[in-house]
């Protein structure tokens, strides 16, 4: 049924994709273009949507704002904390889950639950876990004779508290991806490796890990992108504050403050553009690395 395109058939085709195009245009393309444009509005009336002046002033402002640098620094610490720990932990748990037959479905569900639970609910629970007097975290630490840590209120520990919660929350999703990856490795490779004299750890090192490369890549790219955009965890865990002494101020939190509390729309948009460029750059680096080291 291959026809030569006529004006009529082309119009018909456009008509079919029109509803989807409208949705994509309204909710994806337009906001992207608009926020890029907005980052160049230096004098702007939001309510009347009138732009009085354009320029690079917004970028100049954020690049001189020490809070913005702090936000970038915190975001990088968060990403570098969450992504590797999350990958290592979820890979380890996936390997264990892959070994057990009994109750594996149950455990998979248990690990996946945090991912489908609302961040606000999770943050409330963790707020309790982190409570300086009654929290379970300090209770456990007490077993080892460690003094109670002021997780939420001490600027030295608040980022750690955030990272732990974010790792825990994202674990389930990564575990599912790793389980799929592990399942895709043909059992005969392990048989061949055994016959070739590779014991347990060598099999992991020489078979599992390289053949899981594509999954590790996928998980790390998704993890990096998601972690750079961290906001709701901060907002909920520290009760609408960027942590004690701005210790968990992230780029999106910065953007949010500029937009909703300071009404500096142009600056918020400029921060968004900078975040976009950072994520793009990191992802490109990951892709370059992938091409070199991950084998399909």
């Amino acid at each position: 049924m291959i026809q030569n395109p006529t004006l009529k058939s082309t119009m018909k085709a456009w008509l079919y994709i029109l509803p989807m195009m409208l949705i994509i245009f309204t909710f994806n393309l337009y906001p992207i273009v608009k926020s890029f444009a907005m980052s160049f509005y230096t004098d702007y009336n939001f309510y009347e949507d009138v732009v009085h002046a354009y320029g690079l002033g917004n970028f100049g402002m954020i690049l001189q704002d020490s809070d913005f640098y702090l936000a970038i620094k915190n975001t990088f610490i968060f990403v570098l904390g969450v992504v590797p720990i999350s990958i290592a932990l979820s890979l380890g748990i996936a390997l264990l889950l892959n070994q057990i037959k009994f109750l594996s479905g149950f455990f998979r569900t248990v690990y996946f639950l945090p991912f489908v639970t609302s961040t606000v609910a999770i943050s409330l629970v963790w707020n309790w876990l982190y409570h300086r007097n009654y929290g379970l975290m300090n209770y456990f630490l007490g077993w080892f004779g460690i003094e109670p840590v002021h997780w939420i209120t001490d600027p030295d520990y608040s980022m750690l508290a955030l990272v732990i919660m974010a790792v825990w929350k994202g674990l389930g999703f990564n575990i599912i991806l790793f389980l799929v990856g592990l399942n895709n490795i043909d059992e005969t490779y392990y048989k061949a490796a055994k016959v070739d004299g590779a014991s347990g750890f060598k099999q992991f090192r020489n078979i599992t890990l390289p053949l899981l490369g594509p999954t590790v890549f996928l998980v790390s790219v998704l993890g990096v992108i998601n972690s750079f955009k961290v906001f709701d965890e901060v907002y909920a865990l520290f009760q609408a504050k960027p942590g004690p002494a701005k210790s968990t101020l992230t780029v999106v939190y910065y953007l949010y403050e500029k937009f909703y509390t300071e009404y500096q729309y142009g600056i918020a948009a400029a921060a968004g553009v900078v975040l976009f460029v950072i994520i793009l750059a990191v992802t490109l680096i990951q892709f370059a690395y992938n091409r070199k080291f991950v084998h399909y």
Binding site: D186, T188, K191, K194, V195, G197, K202, N206, I207
Partner: protein, 381 residues
């Protein structure tokens, strides 16, 4: 690379200069059984595969032949019984420590490693120094004639080339035994023939004890020194390919081997076969079934010599080969090697070379009284 190839004929010529020096061993099973729950896969298996020989394990699917191979490799352990390599008992050793070489049905080449790295993998696991590893892998690549492709990834190779790499990898650690699990089943017909000869060549060059599992009788009969036929978890017969074909121990083996399959008829103690074939009295009473290979049957002009008389119901001519289905009353027989002059619908008189007839008792066991006669038979396998 040219240099390597020029050396090859030398190595082939002199038996004392082998590419791979293997300290090869016999494989012995003692009362080995394997069962999953109630299901018995192998029952009380006893055999010895002699050192330096190529043995095929042949049988229909589900007969336990792959299980036998897994048991030798150590990837599976027997429920009962003992396994020996030479004098050493290996029953309790797992695959990592048995150090056999194995070629898997789907080759199982590590997809992320180059051909050379694949061949070197077992050596790397054995912590062989890097230079030595490389030299040895190159030597093996040369032996299996894959040395032009050592830097490629497995998926860039054809099936036959992957097969060669798999063999080289299996031989890399100088195993005492080489195992092959249906290694030719994933190849097309032409490559299968080529690789069959290659496997034989490599086995003879390395002189390594090789166990070859297959469901293809042609492969087993053409390739091996000895064939072990398995069915329902029990050994049906283990002998040379020729004996297996000409002197099957039982009805299963007789029916399993040969294309077209053997004709089997119910033996009539007062019938024509009994009278014409001079079957001595004590044996005639035991015989239940007569087996006649299609190629043992001949057309005769003299009705008085005929064992059977029947009408050709179906004729097949493939080049010079003429084979036919002949109706004998209610039974039907397949006859091959007929003269080109026969026609469909024609009624013909048939006789058979008398020492090529096979007789079986009620339980399907072979009944033999003259060991001299059958061995001299001319039924070309």
């Amino acid at each position: 690379m040219d240099g390597h190839q020029k050396e090859l004929p030398d190595g082939l010529g002199s038996p004392d200069r082998r590419y791979i020096e293997v300290n090869t061993l016999q494989v012995r099973f003692e009362e080995v059984s394997v069962s999953y729950g109630d299901k018995k896969v192998l029952e009380n298996i006893n055999f010895t595969f002699p050192a330096h020989s190529l043995v095929s394990v042949l049988g229909p699917s589900g007969c336990g032949k792959s299980t036998t191979l897994m048991l030798i490799s150590g990837l599976m352990s027997p429920t009962e019984g003992r396994i020996f390599f030479g004098d050493r008992e290996v029953t309790k050793l797992d695959a990592v420590r048995r150090k056999v070489g194995m070629v898997f049905q789907n080759y199982a080449l590590y997809p992320h490693l180059s051909v050379l790295d694949n061949i070197m993998f077992p050596l790397k696991m054995a912590k062989v120094p890097k230079n030595e590893r490389r030299d040895r892998a190159l030597e093996l690549a040369n032996l299996v004639q894959i040395d032009e492709h050592i830097d490629k990834k497995p998926k860039q190779l054809s099936g036959g080339q992957q097969q060669r790499v798999a063999i080289a990898r299996a031989l890399a650690k100088e195993p005492s035994i080489l195992l092959m699990d249906e290694p030719l089943s994933n190849l097309d017909a032409r490559l299968r023939l080529e690789m069959r000869e290659e496997i034989r060549r490599i086995q003879q060059e390395t002189n390594i004890t090789t166990v070859f599992v297959t469901h293809d009788q042609e492969e087993a009969l053409s390739l091996s020194d000895q064939v072990m036929v398995l069915n329902d978890g029990a050994i049906q017969q283990m002998s040379t390919p020729r004996d297996l074909y000409e002197r099957p121990d039982n009805l299963f083996v007789a029916r399993f081997l040969g294309k077209p399959a053997i004709n089997t008829l119910t033996f009539d103690p007062n019938g024509r076969i009994r009278r014409m074939m001079n079957i001595p009295q004590p044996y005639a009473g035991q015989i239940e079934t007569v087996g006649i290979r299609p190629e043992s049957i001949m057309v005769t002009d003299r009705p008085e010599d005929a064992l059977f008389r029947g009408e050709i119901t179906h004729l097949e001519r493939i080049g010079r080969d003429v084979s036919a289905k002949v109706r004998l009353g209610s039974a039907e027989m397949v006859v091959s090697g007929l003269p080109a002059s026969v026609e469909e619908g024609q009624t013909i008189n048939l006789t058979a070379v008398d020492d090529e007839l096979l007789y079986f008792d009620q339980t399907g066991r072979s009944v033999r009284w003259s060991d001299v006669g059958t061995a001299a038979g001319s039924a070309g396998a």
